[in-house]
């Protein structure tokens, strides 16, 4: 049967869902509706290789327009202003109406904004999309001292890139460690040391009281009355699921769109995937919302299968990474619910990993090392945690013993 399938949101989850649907369903119409007038592209390089001129715009696209054409996947750049779930229709700003049989919502997440009570709202820059990355890249070329508000992944990746562009960088973080929402302190401290070694200034435990602008220079007053003068302001203070469009509908929301393990929402024939979805994870027996590259991709693929009628549970183990300077940080599984920590390695050149165990079962791991050095062991941890494996702690802590052998086939 030929269906109209609409994918609302032209990011990573959307494009992977579209291609997965096509793999399983050659007949249905598939249309991706995106708010940016760009084919789906990779966001991770925006804060790194794109700022550093190692990648340009053409390198970012997941697939060329030819791939979409060959697979008969339509892409339309339009802004949707209203959804009628009962009649299965989407209404665009330009009065066009789109009917669907199945709808995937993959609208992603939006940056939280600083609450500034003066006229400086347009003076603080955020980085989520290509246009913002282009603006930042252009403006920083003429700036020297740059302050980044927020010591999370995005802020620190920008700090790393700007440092490599010979800028003086200050990072202000409200918490008592960097990346405190998800990264264990042991690893965060190693990352902090690397920033300090490269000349970046890190200010922890400080709140911003006020920002003013005098003669083109910004003055940031902190809650200890210290004053920071800076040429340019970038903020990365977290994100929220992009659900405004659904706030007055029957769609069940709670920190995103609630979905089950099949990416199904509370409304029949409506699915959600990626950052916007607060999904049920059968392995952890609870809901979670993730903002990561791997999740957007795998959740999109899972939604695609389910939309195409291939009933598939989403059981992917959470995994994320951040690249700063020449270091690669990775986290897998659950690292904030444990009763024992085991350390493997003590030198970031060969990699340092902390394993998090509960009731002797390995639940997650977080590691840091020169590009790629910790990847294999982190991946093995994902596989071990998937099977609730009780592992030999001696092997985990000894870097000379390979972890491959712990995987049961």
């Amino acid at each position: 049967m030929k269906n109209n399938i609409i994918i609302l949101g032209g990011g990573q989850a959307g494009i992977y869902a579209a291609r997965e649907i096509r793999q399983n369903d050659s007949k249905s119409n598939i249309k991706i509706i995106g708010e940016e007038n760009l084919l789906p592209y990779e966001r991770p390089p925006l804060s790194k290789d794109f700022l550093l001129d190692k990648k340009n715009e053409e390198d970012l696209y997941f697939h060329s327009s030819d791939v979409l054409k060959n697979e008969n996947i339509e892409f339309e750049n339009v802004s949707i202003s209203k959804v009628d779930f009962e009649n299965k229709k989407l209404f665009a700003d330009n009065d066009d109406v789109y009917s669907y049989d199945s709808l995937l919502i993959s609208t992603g997440s939006e940056n939280k904004k600083l609450s500034l009570d003066n006229n400086l709202k347009n003076d603080v820059y955020y980085l989520r999309n290509l246009e913002e990355a282009k603006k930042i890249k252009e403006i920083v070329s003429n700036k020297n001292k740059i302050t980044i508000i927020g010591g999370g992944f995005i802020g620190l990746e920008i700090a790393s890139s700007l440092s490599q562009l010979q800028k003086k960088v200050i990072v202000i973080e409200i918490g008592n460690q960097l990346m405190g929402r998800i990264i264990p302190k042991q690893i965060a401290d190693l990352v902090q040391n690397t920033h300090l070694e490269h000349g970046n200034e890190i200010i922890l435990n400080k709140q911003i009281e006020k920002i003013t602008k005098k003669n083109g220079i910004y003055e940031i007053l902190l809650n200890d009355n210290s004053l920071i003068k800076t040429d340019f302001l970038i903020a990365g203070i977290g994100s929220t699921p992009a659900v405004k469009l659904f706030e007055n509908t029957n769609l069940k929301l709670d920190n995103g769109i609630l979905t089950n393990q099949f990416c199904e929402t509370s409304i029949k024939d409506v699915y959600a995937a990626g950052d916007v979805s607060n999904f049920y994870h059968p392995l952890y027996e609870r809901n979670m919302r993730l903002e990561s590259y791997q999740h957007a991709q795998n959740h999109g693929i899972c939604a695609g299968k389910n939309i195409a009628g291939v009933k598939t549970e989403y059981t992917s183990i959470p995994w994320m990474w951040s690249d700063q300077f020449n270091l690669n940080l990775q986290l897998t599984g659950i690292c904030n619910d444990y009763d024992e920590i085991i350390e493997r390695g003590n030198d970031i050149n060969s990699g340092v990993i902390y394993f998090f165990l509960k009731n002797k079962i390995i639940r997650g791991a977080c590691g840091l090392g020169i590009a790629g050095k910790i990847g294999r062991d982190i991946r093995i941890t994902s596989k071990l945690s998937e099977k609730n494996t009780i592992v030999d702690k001696q092997i985990l802590s000894d870097q000379n013993q390979k972890l491959n052998k712990l995987i049961q086939k």
Partner: protein, 118 residues
């Protein structure tokens, strides 16, 4: 005839020379790999249950050495972004990798591994 023979020997000579010694067969554990650098290129040489295989040593998605990746059955997974390739065919099996990995012929002679680089 002379020219034909000469050419034939020439071709054979070239072809022999392109087999590069990687190391001894016991330098790789089963279902594992070693990195092998030759001139300005990097390769990965694998020992699978049915023999030795070789691929380019850098992921086709981003410039990352595959030597730190996980070998599982006939697959190598990139340690940075988890793209997966079939070691025998080089086929990119799982996103974000979408471009295949180049593979190279491998032979074993007197417990030494050789790969043929073109």
């Amino acid at each position: 005839m002379y020219l034909f023979s000469k050419n034939r020997y020439y071709i054979q000579f070239m072809s022999e020379e392109n087999w590069i010694e990687v190391g001894s067969t016991d330098s790789i554990e089963e279902e594992d790999l070693i990195r092998f650098d030759h001139q300005d290129k990097t390769f990965c040489v694998y020992k699978l249950t049915d023999g030795f295989y070789a691929t380019d040593g850098i992921c086709t998605h981003e410039a990352v050495h595959l030597e730190d990746g996980l070998v599982m059955d006939d697959e190598i997974e990139c340690p940075m972004h988890q793209g997966i390739f079939n070691i025998k065919s080089g086929e990119a099996l799982s996103p974000p990798a979408c471009e295949d990995l180049k593979t190279y012929p491998v032979k074993v002679d007197n417990d030494k591994i050789f790969i043929k680089i073109d």
